[in-house]
Every structure is written in structure tokens, then in C-alpha cells.
């Protein structure tokens, strides 16, 4: 994931996560609060409804009782209960009862559907607000039996004779002596109950209160006018819980299979369960509305943060991208003139400017490196030219200096051959001196050429047994005769890596020097010694010859440098210069140690890693 995405994501996380968390918390807190409010409301509604129910029943009881205590009611009832129906007083009493007392209690003026006076002995309806009821028996009815002794309310039941659900209130009609005269029974209109129950608090539209009897039948309409009452059963969780005799609140699906919050209350005096329910959808509607609002806010916020984060990230990543592009281009093309050139005042701007400065500095350095390379190139070319010139010069020297020498020697010999009779001894000696000079000059040219060749020819390194090489060179330089005089000692010298021909020349020059400078000793001792150091091997050739004065030690290795008179020791002063040149070309060092009359030791080293 690139920097821009990461920064954007970080912004989103920082901004959105707290909002989302708070939203979720708020939602659940709100939901809980709503639930609590709803539960409180339902419970209180239930309480209110149950007390309304009680009040409704009690008020009807009072009405019935008030009716039963009227003196005329007692009187007429007694008349009717004792007199024969054929008696005119009976009819008068009945008419009076019905017209003056019972009918006014019936709807619409009263609260009852029907009010009847029942004979206490046979349970026959003596008088009723409804003429159709007269003569019917209520002997087996519970409200009749109970009503003989006290005011009794029979809960909701299905009346077979009436073919409908009903509720009865009965009370005794007694004379002054508390003797039962008859039983007064009033039939309640359950629609009134339904309207009381379904009267809504107005707090919610889906709220409904209804009664359910023991047999799971609706007693009142759950919502007004649907025809449920005592015709349909209901077996929801709330009803079950309520009918089991407990009060409480539950979340369940109602008879329509719609999720509701329900409060249930058992009414033991009526053997009914009071249920008040409200649809969860409605209850949670405010919370859900809040959730939708929050979701909208979070979405908008996310959008804003993403856009803002994206652009803010761009202000960071764009200069960085320019920096990367600049660095990549410099890396690819080496164009150090390339500038990032930012106006930014922040850290990234500072970085860009630092990068530009670096490129500028680098350019200066690089330019100087280029210049150096150019100079090296020129120098190399000059050196190569010089080398070629030197080669040509060497060739010329060897070729052109030899020709006159050959002429000198040749013609001297011709002089000696052709003009021998004319030359005396001195003439012949002079001729031989001329010849000798020519020969020496020829040798000198040869040595010089060897010396100069060493500086030019390439090395061909291989492994060399230095021990064997030193011994073989010594054998070549000496005769059986001279070896008798020389004590030659070789420690086992470690092998070396180098050019065999050149290192052979080193041994030749060093050993021939030792032999030469110790030739006057009766017993010459020449020792070849070697010592392995950390990075190199030190080889040495020691003799007990004439030695040299250490103050001239630094002159020993110069070309044509001689510390001894030619008459004493022949030589042209090239040998040690040649040794030094060979060893230097192998990456080693040379030096000498000596004392006049006591011999000399020449050292040279060869690096372990071989020729570079």
C-alpha cells in the first residue's frame, strides 16, 4: 500500500471509527431507553386499564345495588314473588318495575343491555327490561346462586340462551328484615368494555389493550370492531405468561405474527389476562430514525474525510513523488542539472531543497572526477606515446649503435690481418684496446636494453621453486673449480609467484655479485636465506666478500652506480638496478646491508598474494 493510501486510510480511521463507535453506542443506548420508556408506558397502561376495568365493574355493581335497594323495587319484587300472576297487582308491579326502574338502566340511558328481576326460589325471570326474557330460567346460572347472598359479578362467559358472550352482575333484593325477596341481575355490554380497553393513550398508533380469558379467547376486541371477542383464541407468549398468573413484559410476536413489546397482567378476580401491546416497529421507530440519520451523517463524514484525506495526502505524496522521479532520473541518466524545485515550506520542501543541493554538490564532485578521468586519460596517452618513443629509441640504440661498433671491431681486425707486417707490438696493442672498447660498449648496450625491456614487457607469473632456482643459477655461474672455493648454503626457500625469467635474472645478478666480490677470499661463503613474514617473504643473499660502506647504500641500486673500480671488479653498474626494477615490478622491496671488508647482504621481498 502506498503512502497516499495509508495516509488517507489513517484519516478515515481517525475520523470515522470514533463516530461509528459513538453511533452504535448511541443507538443501543437509545434503544434501551426507548424500551424502558415503552415498558413503563405499557405497564402503566395495563395498570390503568385494569383499574378502569375494576372501576367500570364497580360502578355497574353500584348501579345494580342502588337499584336493588330502592323501596319500590323491593316492594314490587315482593309483590311479584308472592302474588299470583293473575292478580292485577302483579301486572301493575311488573309494569311499574319495568317501566320505572329496569328500563331506565338499560342503554342508552343506563349502562346495561338487560336488567332482570329473578325469583329467588325457582330462578324464573319475573320482570326484565327485555320482554323477551321474561319467563326464562336462570336457576342454573352461577350469578343467580351467588346473587342470592351478595353482589356478584360473573366474568365473561358464553351464554347459550343468548348465543353471545356476556357478563353478569347480580345482587339480592331484600326486605327490611333482610329476607331475600328476589335477585336482581344486570347484563353488561361488553362493547363498552372493548371501547374502554381499546381506548388508546394516544402515545402510539399500534398500541392495543385487550382481555383474554382462561380459554385463550379474546374477551375484548384487540382493535376496535374486528369481531375477535370470544370467537378467536390467542396463544402468544404474552398471553401464555399472563394466563399462567404472572405479570410482566415480553418481546414476542402477537396474534398477527408481528413483533411487539407486550405487557401482561393477570386479573384473578375476573379470571382474565390483560394484555397491552405495541408494535416493536413503532416503538423503535425513533431509534431507527436516529440510526438512519447517524448512518447518513457517518456516510457523509466518511466521504468528506476521504476526499480531504486524499487531497491532504496528495500534498505530502506529490512532492515525494517528484523527489522520487528526480532521484530516479538522476540515477538513470546522471543528469545532475535536474532540479526538484519545490516551493513547499514544510519538511518535505526542505528535503527537496536538500536533495537539489546534494545534486549540485554531486555535480561539482562528479565534474571534478570527470576532469580527473580526462587528465588520467591524457596522461596515459602521453605515457603510452613516451613508451612507444622509448621503444623506438631502444631499437634505434641497439641497431644504430651496434653498426659503428661492428665497423670499429671489424676494421681493427682487418687492419691486424691485412697490415700485420707494418704494425709493431704497440700498434697491435692499440688495435686490441680498440677492439676491447668496442666489445665493452656492445655489452653495455645489451645490459641497457635488458634494463629498459624490463620496464615494458608484461609479466608472466607462475609458481616458482625459489630454492631450486637459486641452486641452478649458482651451478651455471660457477665451475667445478670455483665451487671448491665457495661454501654455498641454501636454506629451504619457500616458493614464490612471479615471472620465472625475470626472477632468474635476479638470482643471476645477486649471486654473480656475491661470487665476484668474494673471489679474493680463500674461502668464500655465500648464504641464501629466506624468512616468511605476514604478507611477504624476505629472501637474502649474504656473502663474506669486500662489502661496502653503508653510507653509499642508497646508491647501490642506481643505474651505472659502481662502488668499486673497474680494474678491481668488472661490471657496468646495471645489475642491481635491474634487480630493483624486477622486484619493484613484482610488488616487492630491495635493500642491502654491508660493511667494508666484511661482506654484504642483499635482501628482496615478494608479496604472498603474487604479482599484482
Amino acid at each position: 500500500m502506498n503512502l497516499r493510501s495509508r495516509i488517507t486510510l489513517l484519516f478515515v480511521l481517525l475520523a470515522i471509527v470514533p463516530v461509528v463507535v459513538m453511533s452504535i453506542l448511541a443507538y443501543y443506548t437509545g434503544r434501551q431507553a426507548v424500551e424502558q420508556v415503552e415498558i413503563n408506558h405499557l405497564v402503566s397502561t395495563n395498570l390503568m386499564k385494569s383499574s378502569e376495568l375494576t372501576r367500570w365493574i364497580e360502578s355497574n355493581q353500584q348501579r345494580i345495588e342502588e337499584l336493588a335497594q330502592r323501596p319500590l323495587m323491593v316492594q314490587y319484587s315482593a309483590t311479584m314473588a308472592t302474588y299470583d300472576p293473575a292478580d292485577p297487582a302483579y301486572d301493575l308491579a311488573r309494569l311499574s318495575l319495568e317501566e320505572d326502574h329496569l328500563r331506565p338502566r338499560v342503554k342508552p340511558a343506563g349502562g346495561f343491555i338487560e336488567v332482570s328481576v329473578i325469583s329467588p326460589d325457582k330462578g324464573i325471570i319475573l320482570a326484565s327490561s327485555d320482554d323477551m326474557q321474561e319467563g326464562k330460567y336462570y336457576a342454573n346460572q352461577r350469578f343467580f346462586a351467588e346473587g342470592k347472598t351478595h353482589t356478584y359479578t360473573q366474568g365473561v362467559f358464553y351464554s347459550l340462551p343468548l348465543q353471545q358472550t356476556t357478563m353478569m352482575i347480580s345482587t339480592p333484593i331484600s326486605d327490611r328484615n333482610k329476607n331475600l325477596v328476589s335477585v336482581l341481575a344486570g347484563r353488561l355490554d361488553l362493547r363498552d368494555l372493548s371501547s374502554i380497553m381499546s381506548a388508546q393513550s394516544g402515545l402510539s398508533q399500534s398500541e392495543k389493550t385487550y382481555l383474554v380469558n382462561k380459554s385463550n379467547f379474546f374477551v375484548t376486541e384487540p382493535l376496535s370492531g374486528e369481531g375477535y371477542a370470544l370467537k378467536k383464541t390467542v396463544r402468544t407468549e404474552g398471553v401464555k405468561a399472563g394466563l399462567s398468573g404472572s405479570d410482566g413484559v415480553g418481546f414476542y410476536e402477537d396474534y398477527r405474527n408481528i413483533p411487539v413489546i407486550g405487557s401482561y397482567k393477570w386479573l384473578p378476580e375476573y379470571n382474565m389476562c390483560l394484555i397491552t401491546e405495541v408494535d416493536q416497529a413503532e416503538a423503535y421507530a425513533p431509534v431507527n430514525a436516529m440510526a438512519v440519520t447517524m448512518l447518513t451523517i457517518v456516510s457523509l463524514l466518511t466521504l468528506i474525510v476521504v476526499v480531504a484525506g486524499f487531497f491532504l495526502a496528495r500534498t505530502i505524496t506529490q512532492p515525494l513523488a517528484r523527489l522520487v522521479a528526480g532521484a530516479a532520473e538522476i540515477g538513470r541518466s546522471g543528469h545532475l542539472d535536474r532540479k526538484i524545485g519545490t516551493e513547499g515550506r514544510d519538511e518535505i520542501g526542505e528535503l527537496s531543497r536538500a536533495f537539489d543541493r546534494m545534486a549540485t554538490e554531486l555535480k561539482v564532485t562528479t565534474v571534478s572526477i570527470d576532469e580527473l578521468e580526462q587528465r588520467i586519460h591524457e596522461r596515459t596517452a602521453q605515457l603510452e606515446a613516451a613508451n612507444r618513443e622509448l621503444e623506438a629509441f631502444t631499437y634505434s640504440v641497439s641497431h644504430d649503435l651496434r653498426a659503428p661498433l661492428r665497423a670499429i671491431d671489424g676494421y681493427t681486425r682487418i687492419l691486424l690481418d691485412d697490415y700485420q707486417p707494418l704494425l709493431d707490438e704497440e700498434g697491435k696493442r692499440i688495435c686490441s684496446v680498440i677492439s676491447e672498447g668496442a666489445h665493452k660498449m656492445s655489452d653495455l648496450i645489451d645490459d641497457l636494453l635488458t634494463f629498459s625491456r624490463l620496464g615494458r614487457s608484461t609479466l608472466n607469473p607462475s609458481n616458482i621453486d625459489m630454492d631450486a632456482l637459486a641452486k641452478s643459477v649458482f651451478q651455471e655461474l660457477t665451475t667445478a673449480q670455483s665451487r671448491k672455493r665457495i661454501d654455498f648454503q641454501v636454506d629451504s626457500a619457500p616458493p614464490a609467484v612471479g615471472d620465472p625469467a625475470l626472477l632468474r635474472q635476479v638470482w643471476v645478478n645477486l649471486l654473480s655479485n656475491s661470487i665476484k666480490f668474494s673471489q679474493r677470499k680463500k674461502r668464500a661463503v655465500i648464504k641464501v636465506h629466506s624468512e616468511e613474514m605476514e604478507n611477504e617473504t624476505v629472501y637474502s643473499v649474504q656473502d663474506n666478500g669486500v662489502g661496502f660502506d653503508m653510507q653509499y647504500a642508497d646508491k647501490l641500486f642506481g643505474v651505472f652506480q659502481r662502488l668499486h673500480n673497474v680494474r678491481e671488479f668488472e661490471g657496468n653498474g646495471v645489475g642491481l638496478a635491474l634487480v630493483q626494477r624486477v622486484i619493484h615490478r613484482h610488488g616487492g622491496r630491495v635493500w642491502a646491508d654491508g660493511e667494508t671488508g666484511k661482506g654484504a647482504t642483499f635482501y628482496f621481498t615478494l608479496p604472498h598474494q603474487g604479482v599484482i
Binding site: 621503444e391 631502444t394 631499437y395 641497439s398 641497431h399 644504430d400 651496434r402 653498426a403 661498433l405 661492428r406 665497423a407 671491431d409 671489424g410 676494421y411 681493427t412 681486425r413 682487418i414 677492439s435 668496442a438 666489445h439 656492445s442 636494453l449 625491456r453
Partner: protein, 147 residues
Amino acid sequence: MDDMHAVDVLLVEDNQQDAELTIRSLKKHKLANNVSVVEDGAEALDFIFCKGKYSERDIKHPPKVIFLDLKLPLVNGLEVLRAIKQDTRTKSVPVVVVTSSREDPDVKAAYELGANSYVVKPVDFESFTEAIGNLGLYWLLINQPPK
């Protein structure tokens, strides 16, 4: 004219002293009967290919051996050698490169062009005489040229 046809040795040498010493060496070994000397490369080519003042020579009678110095005026020794070895009429003629120096960078080139020998002239006269004598003996008497 007969002399010109019967050349044993062609000495190509710009140094007159060297030429004289060479001839003297050959004489010493009784080999200098028919020695011709030319002093530069151009003359050498004229002689060998019978042109210019040597146009009367017959190319069918080449020298038995050519002693060739490499450092020559006008046309250098290697050019002369190449011309000899590239021409079918002359390529079987033995060419001995005789030079003053073993440093000569052209030694290798000379051999590659088909030189039959490469000899360094010693400074010492006795050695020189001996070397030239040996060369003469070998190429004139011992060596059998193709018929």
C-alpha cells in the same frame, strides 16, 4: 651478362661497412664468387624482379640466397620480404634476415612473412665472420633448392 645471371648471394645492405665486412667474411670462406650488393629496398626489388636498371636480368635465375637487412632506405626490409614471398616466381628463394638488433620489433613479422632465417649480426668481428660464413655454407652448399 652471364655474371648477372649467375648470382649466388644478393646482399641487401645500406651500411657499406657492414656490406664490406659481410663480403670479406664470405670471401674468407671462399663463398664470394657471385655476390651482388644493393643499398636500398627499391633497388632490391628492381634486382629481384628484373626491373629498372636490372631489366636485362632473367627472373628465372634468382639468387640462391638473399641476405636482407630490415632497416633500409626507400622500401623497408619487410616490404621487400613480402614482395618476394608473395610472388610465385620468387617465393622459393631463401631469404635470411640479417639485422643488427635482437630488439627488432619486426622479428615476428619477418617470420610470419616467410623469412627462412633470422640472424643478429654480432659486434665481435670473429663471431660475425663465423656467422656469415655459416650462413653462406649452409644456404649455398648444404641447402638444396627446389629444381
